[in-house]
Symmetry: C2
């Protein structure tokens, strides 16, 4: 059975012997509303570590003032079951005051191109909030390994840089995007979609698949690939594109031609729900 812990004191009491014995600890940081994407991270962690801690915390500092912090799904009971079924040891579900103990906040921020493009344009404080909470969780849990989904491609790159720049003693493990049978990337925000939106949202994975095929056939021109992807997305009359871009890895510089590894990433609104998806071209 998984243990649900809400305070740092309890967590450390639980982990103290593991620290002393140098047991391996896997951390899966989540905002809850766990789905099979999270399940794949928890499974990977429980295979690779003695102890797996799943954190469940809807982090206020990564939501903008007009974003969905209040309505973000909170499903702790179901999360505990999913965590248990995938062999997590501990679910750490603290409240906001526990992780933000001061009246004024402290922030950790990665600067540079990687944190200025893509999602950062429409969500300017998002990654600062992500880095801050992940850095806190790293210090609280002190994991050997931490598990993130490739679904949040830019987040992964920024956290990689944070770990590098701050010498955080953790191994990052990035797991593949998990998709529904029909191609839709799993996301806690899929719950917001109406049936109609859910059907139309398939243009996202279709556009990525198209670009992957064209890339495999040898197409390297970024404008061509992006324009073809946009056409597929625009076949949905309700899709409102935030961005569709192909950028060089790892710093996400703009490119005209794909020479080395590139990230194709997109963010598209269906109604008020903003979905992201991506594929690595290499």
């Amino acid at each position: 059975m998984v243990k649900c812990i809400t305070t740092i004191e309890q967590l450390h009491a639980e982990l103290n012997q593991a620290y002393l014995d140098h047991k391996t600890i896997g951390l899966v940081p989540t905002m809850g509303a766990l789905h099979q994407g999270h399940a794949s991270l928890i499974q990977a962690s429980s295979k690779e570590n003695d102890i797996t801690v799943v954190s469940v915390f809807v982090n206020p500092t990564q939501f903008g003032p007009n974003e969905d912090f209040d309505k973000y799904p909170r499903t702790l009971e179901a999360d505990l079951k999913l965590a248990a079924n995938n062999n997590a040891t501990i679910v750490f579900a603290p409240d906001i005051d526990t992780l933000y103990p001061s009246k004024d906040p402290s922030y950790l921020e990665v600067l540079g191109n990687v944190s200025e493009v893509l999602c950062a344009k429409s969500r300017p404080i998002h990654f600062r909030g992500v880095c801050t909470i992940v850095a806190k969780l790293f210090n609280v849990v002190r994991p050997t390994r931490a598990y993130f989904g490739q679904k949040d491609a830019q987040q992964v790159l920024i956290i990689k840089r944070m770990v590098k720049d701050f010498f955080i003693p953790v191994e990052l493990r990035v797991m593949p995007i998990i998709r529904e049978q029909d191609g839709l990337a799993l996301s806690s925000r899929n719950k917001y979609l109406t049936n109609e939106q859910r059907t139309q949202a398939l243009v996202l994975s279709q556009s990525l698949k198209h670009v992957a095929n064209r890339f495999a056939q040898g197409e390297r021109n970024v404008k061509t690939l992006v324009s073809e992807a946009r056409k597929i997305i625009e076949q949905s009359p309700i899709a409102k594109i935030d961005y569709v871009e192909i950028l060089a890895l790892d710093e996400l510089e703009a490119i005209d031609t794909i020479e080395n590894k590139a990230l194709m990433a997109l963010a598209v609104y269906f109604g008020s729900t903003r979905l992201i998806d991506n594929i690595i071209l290499e």
Copy 2:
């Protein structure tokens, strides 16, 4: 004999057994140009820990564009001797690229009143740079305890908040200001002073001593105490006051009357050399 180490790999090779054996490690973060103030920190650390690491690194991100980064004294040979004489185990003296491995920087910043007042007004990026480098050093060295001088009173308060807000697993140890016989607080920047400036700079400790006496006699009015301190400092014709303030601990809020613990802090230029000093009133 103290070992001088310049890379993180060497440092970890040296400390790895200590980590495995859960030995206690003390960190004394410095910018070099070590004096008896640093010596007191190193002594305290070597008494309280199995291993003492003294870092020597003139951190560029805490200097403003018109500050003394270039001319800041670098005296590694003498630093090694002082560290050895005070029973340090390791001097860690990396170069800039080692601690700033990315083209673009990442920062850790404590927000709120404590990082907006006093030195922050004339040195707006200073504490962001301090927090960033100290957070890096904490991750690199992973100390049990870290030693700071009360001389840098605001720095101490901000690092305390960083440790609290980010749950950094380290015990902070704050050691008293060390003074010359005549009262001047030790500082690596005292080397910049001419004989004349050195003599005149005594007004700083004299003003603090005066305020401490007046406080002991029962005076609690901030305006009165600050004005008396300023008068003493202004007895030096070359002293140019940056600030003389009394603020409430720990968040450094402005107060009219000292009710609980307060910090009296000052920063004064003698020529182009800016000296700081302080005293806690409680």
